[in-house]
Each structure stands twice: as structure tokens, then as C-alpha cells.
Symmetry: C5
Subunit: 379 residues, 5 copies
């Protein structure tokens, strides 16, 4: 009798609730979904009825923005929209029984979710995940998330600041093999590229070129895993690097070249050239800050920089040698001058003229003019 009255009570409650047929609560009761007493059937394991069944997880990743790309850290910071969907075999309902309700949104902790990881990820995502996911009446579960991904990306610094960078985002399950969880791209490369291009309103330093979606399998011994690799191709906007870095160095090269016109005599050529070299050294410091030290090939920009630096060095050395030779040259006539002046009587003026003639030719060979040298005999 007690039991009977209890069931009566239950029926009464049921009857009362049949009125709000159109409420979410009705469906939750039907599906046995409750936050206060979670259903193990939904949370414990892959939502398949037979354990041999492979669960297909559809994945779509759209790039919203390329926030940053740090050469020195070799990291790509991107803002992506991740969409996953899979079929939960335990869940299904007839929308007609529930007043046309075709999908419900429930707290994400009520269901099993695939444990997707990104192989290149180096930092936990810094944006909060959505606390809800969607279940459709055929059992398809949909999960959407906006994430800031910090991922490692081997940069091609060889052609810096030009050239195209390619970064991978490889999604895979941590523990499920390919027979348990099989990742499927939700849309192909061209669609992903087109969608991402539409979404990407804020293009910063980097110009998005394309997004390629590849489905592969990662083999390790007997443990094969399904892998979806999203390859993002992008190009840097090099204009400010050119204006702020390449141009000034070119300017300094011009100055160094122009310094050939400066007279070898006097200290100004030397100090001019060495100051220009110092300026290039300062520019090179920026290079060390911008570029990572990770290359096995020397980047072209370093070759450009060190080449110009080396050229300046050589031209400076040449200047020093020319000055030295000129001086040595001018020194020997001087000695001769001293010797001659011994044998001279009063013909000082004539002798000087002769030497002057000889000396001028000498200078021409060295391609330099020494008008400021105050040679004692040039009077």
C-alpha cells in the first residue's frame, strides 16, 4: 500500500509535468540528464554502444586572427574557432514528442568529450572555454570554442623579412587510437581558407594566405592515432622592416662608398668611416634582438648586414694602408731631401720643384692627393 501510494505520487508528478511538454526539463528527464546526479553512461566512456565501434569526430578550425608571431620564441599566437561534432549513440529523441525541440544546450561536464590536443601547443589556452555544448535530436553533439592558441612553429628565417611562413596545428587525441577515435575534417582546405579569410578582420603584421587541412595517421609501434593537421600559410608585411632596417643600412653603405671621395690625407676620412661602421654595428644589435639564434643556415639579412659590415672593414683597411704607403712614400723623399740639402748651396727652390714633380706622379699612382699634408719640402 505504501509502495502503491508512492507510485501514485510519481504518476501525479508525471502527469503534472506533462503539461510543460515543451520545456527543456521534460527532455532532460527523458534522457536522464541531471547536473546533481551525473549519469555515468554519458560521462565515463566513448558514447558507443559496441566497444568496437569507431567514433568519428568531425573537426573544423577557422582562424579568426593571427595575433602574434614571435621569431625569437618561435611561437605562433592565433585566435581560432574550433568546432567539433560527434555522435552520441546513447542519446536520441523524437522532436515531435517534445514539442518540436530539435536541439538542447547543456553544461559540458555532463557528457564525454574527446581529449583532443594540439601537438604544437606550448601554453594552456588563455581564454575561458564555453561551459555549454549542444545535443541534436539524432544524438550528434556539437562543441564550439574560441581559443587563443600559443603554438610552437619552426620559422623560416632564411629570407627574413620576406618569405612565406608555414605553421602547423596538429589535432589528435591523447590516448585514443585510430580505431577508437577517428578524426575527420569537417570541411576541405578550400572551404577552410575561404571561411578563415572572411572571418579574419584584423590582419596585423601577417597576411593570411591559406589554410590547408590534411588527414593523416601517426604511427608509433602498434599504436596508430588519427591526426588532422591544419597548415596555416602566411606572409609578413615587410614594409616597415625595409624602411626601418634595410634602408638605413643601405644609407650607411652609400656614405661609406661616398667616403672614397674624401681625401686620404687628414684624419677625417678615418673617423668618418669608423663612425659609419659604428652606426652599422648599432643597427646590427637590433638584428640580434629581432632574429632567433636558431638557424643552421645564415639568414640573408645577416649576410646583407655582415657583408656590408665586412665591406666597410675592407674599405677602411684599404684607406689605412693607402695612407701608410703615401706617408712612407713621402717620408723617403724627405730623407732624400735631407741628404740633398747637404749638397745644396742655395739652389733650394729648384730642388724642391723637382721633387714635387716626382712626388705628384707618385700620388697619382696611389689615386690620392695629399694637399693638406704640410710636407716640409712642399713649400
Amino acid at each position: 500500500m505504501m509502495l502503491a501510494s508512492f507510485f501514485l505520487l510519481l504518476l501525479t508528478i508525471d502527469g503534472a509535468s506533462s503539461e510543460d511538454n515543451c520545456s527543456y526539463q521534460h527532455l532532460f528527464n527523458y534522457l536522464n540528464l541531471s547536473l546533481s546526479s551525473k549519469n555515468d553512461l554519458y560521462t565515463m566512456s566513448r558514447p558507443v554502444k559496441h566497444h568496437n565501434t569507431t567514433l568519428k569526430v568531425y573537426l573544423e578550425v577557422l582562424i579568426y586572427a593571427i595575433l602574434d608571431m614571435k621569431e625569437t620564441d618561435q611561437t605562433l599566437i592565433s585566435y581560432v574557432w574550433i568546432y567539433m561534432s560527434w555522435k552520441n549513440e546513447h542519446i536520441t529523441w523524437n522532436p515531435n514528442d517534445f514539442c518540436g525541440l530539435k536541439h538542447i544546450d547543456i553544461p559540458a561536464e555532463l557528457l564525454w568529450k574527446p581529449d583532443l590536443t594540439i601537438e604544437e601547443m606550448t601554453e594552456q589556452d588563455k581564454t575561458p572555454s564555453s561551459p555549454y555544448l549542444t545535443i541534436n535530436s539524432d544524438g550528434t553533439v556539437e562543441r564550439m570554442d574560441y581559443k587563443v592558441l600559443v603554438s610552437a612553429c619552426r620559422m623560416q628565417v632564411h629570407k627574413f623579412p620576406f618569405g612565406i611562413q608555414t605553421c602547423n596545428l596538429s589535432f589528435k587525441s591523447v590516448i585514443y587510437n585510430v580505431e577508437e577515435v577517428n578524426l575527420q575534417p569537417h570541411s576541405d582546405s578550400s572551404v577552410a581558407t575561404k571561411s578563415s579569410r572572411v572571418l579574419m578582420q584584423t590582419q596585423y603584421e601577417w597576411v593570411f594566405i591559406s589554410e590547408t587541412v590534411t588527414k593523416t595517421t601517426f604511427d608509433r609501434k602498434n599504436f596508430n592515432q588519427s591526426l588532422i593537421v591544419h597548415t596555416i600559410k602566411m606572409k609578413r608585411r615587410p614594409i616597415l622592416y625595409i624602411v626601418n632596417f634595410l634602408l638605413p643600412i643601405l644609407f650607411f653603405l652609400c656614405l661609406d662608398l661616398a667616403s672614397f671621395l674624401i681625401s686620404d690625407s687628414g684624419g677625417e676620412k678615418l673617423s668618418f668611416k669608423v663612425t659609419v661602421m659604428l652606426a652599422v654595428t648599432v643597427m646590427q644589435l637590433i638584428l640580434i634582438e629581432i632574429l632567433p639564434f636558431s638557424s643552421d643556415r645564415i639568414p640573408l639579412i645577416v649576410v646583407y648586414c655582415i657583408g656590408i659590415f665586412g665591406f666597410m672593414l675592407l674599405s677602411l683597411l684599404e684607406t689605412i694602408v693607402v695612407m701608410y704607403l703615401m706617408e712612407k712614400d713621402s717620408a723617403s723623399p724627405d730623407e732624400a731631401d735631407g741628404d740633398q740639402s747637404l749638397s745644396e748651396d742655395c739652389g733650394d727652390k729648384q730642388g724642391k720643384v723637382n721633387f714635387n714633380n716626382f712626388y705628384r706622379g707618385d700620388i697619382n699612382i696611389l689615386q690620392a692627393s695629399g694637399s693638406q699634408l704640410n710636407f716640409p719640402w712642399v713649400r
Copy 2:
């Protein structure tokens, strides 16, 4: 009989609790709100009775402070007050039954909350959320929060440090479409601007201009989402950039211009100009630190900088060429001098005077005076 005594017990308890009619606990019991056994009705899904009902979420965002804005990272750090309110159809009470109690404050985890996200957000908010929310007797739920938002913002660096920046904060639900959750601005642009202006006590580098609230719908295939965009307009205080950056470069330009007065002869003009150029290079390094490399147009400040730099380069090249021509010019008379002195007897003085006269005219053409050149024939 046992059941009867049980109900009697319940009634007794009820009777006892009717004395503290004015306590919160009484209402909690009535609403079936409990932290120890959470009510699925409140937490599981959108608080509507019929699943077709659209939930209107009113949103107000007031800017308390623009904490920082980093050009290089393209991020805006703002401190905002976010107010949300929506109607929970499952909750309602008559204040008269509860001793005039019109609203209660309960732990936030007891109710469903909209999963609002900010599209531009790049970092999880760093301030703790309020653990409580307010329910009014008509079922309206109010949520208030202070948040430090780190959001991406495409900066206009073209007119740096002048010009107006515009940053968006786009609020939308992650998974609910426009028919499920419809965002409504709580107050219009002019009210938001006025309120924010009153609140913003601490205006740092940036001067808040206005806050515009726009309600749009984001379309993606068949999935439309309600979107409220808060657009913040602000202006930088450029005074210190002018004094610390633009002014010194202008000073150096003055020096470079003044250097035209320095005699072309002697090394001091060259070393002076190249030192001034080095100083401008050092200033340019600051520019590289301040500005992001993300522009497709060259910012005016870079044009200003590289323009002055280029002008200095040209004036330096001109100086070198003039010096070279002067020297070459002075070299040929010298040779002539040598030849002449051969044919001269004692008329050395006269010849020099003639050349000097010729030479002076030459210098005038080159607009430079060579008094320090110690030409051997100028004696």
C-alpha cells in the same frame, strides 16, 4: 500512521519556520534553492518554460579605466563594469508573502548564466568574478562584474602619436543562436558615453572620447548569433611623444642645417654631420621599440624620421662631393704651380698672387671657403 506522523513533523517544522517569515531561508525553501542539492531546473538550461521562447539578455558595459594600450602587441587593457540581466521564468514570488523581500542575492553557481564571450578577448580576465548574483521577485536575474579585459585591437599607427583609436568589444554567446539568446543593449550610446565619462576617474595616457553601442547579428550559414558591439573611441595624449621624440629629431635637423655654415675644408664638418646622423639613428631605435611592425602603410612618424635621415644623408653626400671637387680643383692649379715654378726665376711671389685670385673665384662658385687648407702655393 508513520506517514501521518511524518507529515505532522513537516507541518511542525513549517509552523516553526513561519515565525522567521522574513528570513532569506524561507524564500530559498519556497524556491527550492539549495547549495547542497542543486536544482537541475535552474542550472541545466535556459530558464524558459517553452523551448521556443527567446531569452532576452540585457547588457550594459561601462568603461572604468583604459589601463593600457600596447601598440606593439595591438592589445587594449581596459577595466570595465559588466551588467547583465535576464528573466528566469521558473522563479517568481510575491514579496508580500515574504515580509516585503523584493530581491535576494545567491551564489552564482545555483543558476544558469548566459555564456557570453568577447570576440576580441585574448586573455582570461585576471580579476575574480563576483560569487553572487541577484534575483528579483519578478524573476529578473541581475549579474554585475568588474573585469580587466585584455582584448585585441587593430591600431591605426598611421598618424601616431596623433589620431583617434577605435577598439571594439563584441559580446556574443558562444553556442546560443539569436532565437535562443537575444542580446539587448541596456542603455544607448549617449548614456553609455555619459556614464563611462563620469566613472573614468583615472585617465592615463589615453583620453576617452565616446562609447558607441551597436546591436547586430552575426551570420554564418544557418547559424545567426546576436552580437552587441561596444566601440570605444579614444585619443592619445601626444605631448610627451612630441617633447621626447619629435622635438629632439627636429633639433638634430636644425644642427644639420646649421652645419652648412661650417667650412667645407677641414674634417670637422664631416665628423659633425655624421655624428648628428648617428644620433638620429639612435632615436630611430626607439621608434622601432614603440611602433608595431604591422602596418601596410608607412606611419607618418616613420616618414618624418626616415625623411630627415635621408635629407641628412643627401646633405652629407653633397658635402663630400663638394670637398672632393674643391680638392680636385685645388690639385690642378698645384700641378700648374709646379710647372710654372720651373719656368720662373724669381717672380715666385707674383705668380702666386695670380693663382690666388683665380682660385678665390673658383671657391666662390662652390660656395665654400678653404682658408684652412694650407695649400703649399698660398704662401
Copy 3:
């Protein structure tokens, strides 16, 4: 009968437990406090019996250390001790019944806590909170916490590195209005200052001056909130800024002034002055790093810096002009010299002396001596 035996059992247990009357557990049972089944009465809402009762929350904040104060970020990092106390009307016991037990310490999650926030706070506190709080026998709940606060603080950079800084820490409830939660300062300004001064063992760059406690009400429409503002006054230790920054610039000013003694002729004065100017430019770079760009008034230190820089510029321009005038001046006598030497016969020596006399006077007008100019006629 079953019920009777059950109550008998309960009594027996009670009898058994009456022996450990002095244990905490006894009181927990009396108060119905349990971690495994939390009491909604304690956790759900403000601990008042009548919902109209205003809860007075006493607050004391003592500054343990001013850890850092970043001018560029405009943030104050302080280490504070926060003490809150309020009365829980649901809890009270007679210590005599519990073996003299006057207060108990329980896990903080068992009770409602006020949702105090600090308006200026920009980062979640980085130190772990205490997991426990204290309840006294009269129902007073005490909470103590050590926190590292990162708060925004508008700095007065006008008198940098001198001047006094004032930072606020405004405590208020997020959702409760002044009629629900009324904040009360636990001690007045003079006591707070005295206590903080005793505690603050580690005074770093900043010297703590005083702590002022103000109780106000924040009005927004019909929503008034209780607010306690702790104003911290402090002073920087300027000694290292003086020695490392102001002194070197003063030294360079001395050098620039001394350079007036250097002969205007020769390139050394120019290169000397421009090098000194370059050094001041380098010092200015530090200024840019130290100071924020957020001022609407130009800080005095920038005026000092740019003033000295401008002075150097003017003195450099003056030098260039003087040199130019001297040269122009010396060029015209030279021509005259050339003309004169035409009419001269052998009286070369005499003529030179005359010109020398004339020239010397000229130099005196320009306040410069040109002994090193090697004027060809000065022989």
C-alpha cells in the same frame, strides 16, 4: 518500536559523545556545521534573520610592504593584511556548555563571506588565501588574509623623482547595496598609519608616509554602495635618480659651458659639443624608459632634460655661426692681403704685422682666438 530503538541509539551516541564535551566536534554537531553536508543556512545568503537587517562588515587593512610601483604601468604592488569581521546571526553558543570553547576555526567554504572587491585592482591576487576562518561564541566571524594586491594608481609624474604619491584602495561589495552590507572601518586613520608603520619592515624604493581610511557611499541611480577607501601616501627615495640621472646630465651641462673656453677655430669645439649632446641624448633614452607617456603636463624632469638639450643646441648653433662669421671675416682680409701683396715689393713682413694687428682686434670682438687656424698670411 523501530523508531524508539533508533532514538535510543541516538541517545547512546549522544551519551558517549558527552564525554568529549571539550572537542570541536561537539560544537560542530551543535551548530550543524559539516563539510560533507554543507548547511544552506550558512552558505546561501547574508547571515541575518530578518532580510531588512543591515550587515555591518568591519574592515581593517594594514600595509605590510610596498613591493613595487611601476610608473610606466601605473600600478602599485602592495602586500597587505586584510581583516574582516561581521556578525552571523544564526550562530551563537554558550562557551560554558562547551568546556569554555570561545572560538572555533573552520574551513571558509562553510560560511557566507562578503564579496568585497577592490575597485583599483587589476590582477587576481597571487597569494593563496587562508582556507580557514574564525567564529566566536557571540557569532562574530573573523577573516584574515595576506594578499599581494596589484592595483592601478594614477601617478603624479610632474615632480618625478620627487613629490608624494597617493594611491587608493577602495573596498566595496560587488552586488550588495549599502542597506544590505555596510562597510565600517575597524580602526581610524591614525591607528592604521601607526600599525602599518610598525609592520612595514621592508621599505624598498618607497617611504610610507601615512594611511588614511575614509568611509563614503558610492551613488549610482538608486543603487548606493558602501565604500571604504584606504589612501596610501608615500614618497620615493630620490637619491639614486639624482646620482644616476640628474647628476650626469648636470655634468654634461658643465662640459658644454666649459666648451666656451675652447677656441672657436679648429674642429675640436664642434665635435666636442656634438659628442656631449649625443651623450645627453643617450641619457634621454633612459628617461623614456622610466617615465610613462601618460602625462598631460610635461614632467619637470623632462623640462630639465629637454631644456639642457635645447640650451646645448643653441650654444652649438652659436658656435657654428661665430665660426662662420670669423671665417667670412678672415676671408675678406685675405683677399685684401692678396691685393696688397700685389702692390708690395719686399715689405712683406711689415704688411703682415699690420694685418695681424687688425685681425686680432676683430677676433676680440667675436670673443675667440684663432691661433691654430694656420692662416697663410699669418707667417
Copy 4:
């Protein structure tokens, strides 16, 4: 009868489980420890039977590594091993009853733990805590943890980079007074020093000297707290600071001293000295980066730096004055020379010699030689 069968069932289960007497589960059942239904007796309060009992908490802290010590932030980052033990009066068992089981390791959340805090701590520890703790059969609970501590430490920068630094780690309970929780050092200073020295394999910039353990009581009004202060003494390895910073400045001082040998005439001495001064200025920039601005006394290294800088300034000023005096000096004889040459006939040579003699003496007074000045009368 139903109850009887129930007890029978329990006995049967007991009988069955008596077989795995040696399992942990057996003891957990005996102690009533369960993760699914936590025991309030163990988690709610201090594990004492009488509330007057003082709980002695033994603490040992061993330094594994001094990871970093930032002068500018005044923070010490250390990696420590923290061991705590205390007696839980509610737990005890006879190992013989449990197959010799003397200690068990259980999840830490099952027991009350002291709320120890470190007064100097400025950041939440960044390493995960151990999820387990150990209970011995006599009720002693042991907790071990490896932690990276970021703590504030007032550095003595006076003797930088020499001198010994002393940092405190003061452990205390947040809310318990000395009569509730009394901290006891587990081992004395000499043992702690010895242990830490053995553990510290990786000695970086800092050389660990000693660890002193002091037990004190912190008094505030009527609230006394037990405090254990671990004082870490350490010494920097100054070698690289000497080689990279002190040595170069000394080198530049040598250069400045050597510059006294350079002839006062000619611009090279001035430009040489000012360039050396510029180099010292650049070195001083590093100093600003390394040292905090927090000192009330000027660090010796700053005195060293600014002293050498000031000395260079004075020597530079002296050079300028000497040059000025020499020039002035040479200008007046010149005038005299001019006057004299008027009255002279052919005795030019003789007069010059006289002046030369006079002049030489003058130079000797000024300790400078002016051979390169091209004085017009020195022919």
C-alpha cells in the same frame, strides 16, 4: 528480523574482508577514511580531542636551489623542500592488527592541514603540490612538498656585487594563535645548513652560506602567533661583474689618466677624453638596469662609477682651462711679437729665441707642451 539479516550481512562482509587483512582498504575502513564520504572529524578542525590542547607542528625547510635573485624586483626565487608533521589525536592503530602496516599514504584532502603561510611570499607557488600525505600508526601526519618560492627580500645593494645577502622565509599560521598551533623547528640551524648544502647541487650565481632557523612569537595585541624564521645567507659570485663591469670602467680610467700625456694642443685630446667619458656613460646605463632604485644609501659601485665619471669631468675641465690659458698666453706674446717686429730690423731670430725661452717656462708651469700649436713666431 530485517535488521538482524542486515547485521549478518555486515558480519559476512567483515569476515570476507578479514582475509585481505594486509590491504590498505582494511585500515581505511577501520579509520573511517573515505574519499566518497569525507569524515568531518578529520577535515573540519584541528585534530585535537580537547580544544585547549596546543597542536605542535614540526617544520623543516631545506633549500634545494637558489634559482634566482632579482635585485631590481627585490625578490628571491628558491626551490625548497618543506616537511611538516603533526599529531592527529583522532587517528591511531596497532600495526599488528593490520599485518604490520605502519604508515599509509592518503589523498591530502581527507585531513585537516595547518594553514601555514610565508610572510615574505609574493606569488603563489608555481609547482604542483603533492596530492598525498602520510599517516603513521601513532597518528603522526607527515606532509612533504617541493615548492618554488617567490619571496620578497630586502637586498643590501650597498656593497654590490660583493657582500652577503640575508633573506628570510617566515612561516606562520594565518589564523591560529600560538596556543592553537605552535610551530617547532624539526632540526636546528647547523643540521639545516648541512642538509641544504648536501642537497644544493646546482649553485648558480649565488653561493649558499648558511641557513639559520629561529623560533619566535609575533605579538599583535592579544593575538600572538608562532613564527619560524628561516634565514638564508648567501654570497654572490662577483667574478663576472668584476670582469664585465668594474674592469672596463677601470680600463677607461686608465685611458683618461694616460690622456694627460697627450699634447694639450690640437683637438685630439678633447675628443679623446669626451669619447672615453661617453663610454663610461654607456657603462652606467647597465648599472641602472642591474641595480634597484631603492637604496637610501648610495651603493659603493655607484660611488665608484660616478666618482670616476666626476674625475673624468674634472680632468676634462682642467684640459679645457689649460688650453684656454695657453691660447690666451700665446695670444698676448703674439701681440707683443707683432709690436716687437715693428721695431725690429733683422734681429728677428734673436727675439724669437727669447720668447721661446720665456714661453717654455710658462708651459712647464702648466705641465703641457705645445709643440704642435704652429705658433706663428716659432719659425
Copy 5:
């Protein structure tokens, strides 16, 4: 009767569920694994039946990438794949009874996990752990995880940027001794090296050489712990350090050597050499940024740098002394010249020649030529 019907009900449920024999749920029920009511047997303690049993935990660590290695912080950031497996004695099933199900994947919180820590770890791992682990039918539990490890690593900076670095990752349990948890390497050093080499696609600055796995025991008093040390050997790619740092300094050394060819007379040699020295000083600043100050031996690169710097100093001092001696030398003949000219009559020219001869030899001894000195007697 009621009990009977209850058991009947249970049987019916069992019978119903026997149909989905192949579902995971079936096995979960068999194993008594449930997320809603966690099984204490699985979570509370080491999964051994007799407490004396040692649990062998097999560990494999493969290096996916060496992300970064900061010399200044002495930290290694690596991306590793960690595999652990151990036997849970409480779990076993016959796959045949469960439709061939050989392994299941369950939420990790359902089972006890070893509390492995890495001794060198300095930061909590920044990547999310996998929420699932795998149980095989023989009770073997497998856990896989991808982790970004930030670990302390004492770097050998002596041979920087050459030389091989060795970093340890020492895995051990925090509280379990060797008799409770015994760590076993899953594969030996050669296999680990081979596997890591295959995996490591992205080799950045560092070239992975080998991974050595060592099993030791860490002894502290009576508490011995099992320890597995993974030693990673790697080599830096030094090419960019050579090109960007060593080469420019070498270039400057060349310039300094070449400066010996510059004439000692005139200021240009001095200013040239001191500018080159300044450039080397600037390069040294980079060194200070790159290298940590933690060495007890001076790194070779610092010796290289400071050696070249010292050499430049010496050569500069030598130049100053030579110039001084030359000048002094030239000054004494001058005096002599003055004295001589007193006794001379008209033989001025002859005497000068003699001195010139004497002087030339002198210069040759000093290995310098003084053609530009404008010696008054060399006319």
C-alpha cells in the same frame, strides 16, 4: 517479500543489460567504476592487495622538442611525452566475458595515480593534462601525457656558444619510498635516444644529441626513494653567434691592428682607436645580456672579449706614450735648436739638417714616422 522483489528487479536490470554485453557500461558495472559514486578502493591508496607489495611504475619520457633554453634564467623548456604504466591489482577481467574488450579508457580521477614530480621543475606545466587513462584487462594502467616542462638546468657557459649542455629531468615520487613505489625505465637509453630523434621534428637553436636514462636511488636517512634521471645532451647551433658576435669583434681587432699603420702624429689615430674601443664596449653589452652572471669560471667568450678589449687598451696606451715621447723628443731638439741658434750666425740650414738626421733615427727606433707634425725646424 519486499527484498525479494527488489532482488528480482536487480536481476531484471542485469538481464536487460546482458544484451549490450559489448558496451563499456557493462564492464564499468562489473568493475564497480562510477564517476557519480567514486570507488574508494581505486582512489584512496596504492593499488596493491598486500601493503608490503612494491608497486613498479614503468616510465618512458620522449623529447618532442627543445623549445627554449635560457642561459640567463638557467632554464630548459622542453616539450615531452610522458608515458607511465603500473599494475592495479584490484582490476582484472576476462576479455571474452566482455565481447573481446581488451582495454577501456576512463576519466583519470577514478583511479590512484603515482605522485611523480620532476626535481628540476620550476613551473607548473602549462599544457592541459589528458583527462583520461587506459586500463588493460590484466589490470595494467597506462597514462600518457604531453607536457611543456620548465626545468632548471645548470648550464656550462664556459665554452659558450660552443660545448655540449647536459640537462637532467629527475622523476621521483614525492612521498612514496622505494619499497612502496619503484620506478622502472620503460626503455633503455639507446631506444629513448632513437625514439626522441625520430619524434623531434622541430629542432630549433639546439641540436639534440642523446637521451640517457639512469635508475638510481636517492638516500636521505632512512627514507630511500626511487629515481629515474633522464639526461638530455644537446649542442647549440653556434653559427649565428659566430657571425653576429665573434666576427664583428674580430673585425674590430683587425681595425685596431691596422691602426698601427696610421701615423702617430695627428689626432686621427687616437680618435680612431678609441672609437673602435667604444664599438667593442657596445658589443660587450650584448654579452652581458646573453650570458648569466652565475659562473665561477670566466667563460671563454668573456676572456676573448675582455682580452681583445685589454689588448686595444694597451695598444692605445702605447700610442699615447709614443706620441708623448716623440713630442718630448721633438721638444728637446727645439730647445737645443733655440740654444744653438743663439750661437749660430747664418748656418741655420746646415744645423737643421744635422738634427733632422739625428731625429730620423730616433723615430725609427720608435717605429713611427712623424711627417705630419709640423716641427718648426723641419722647414
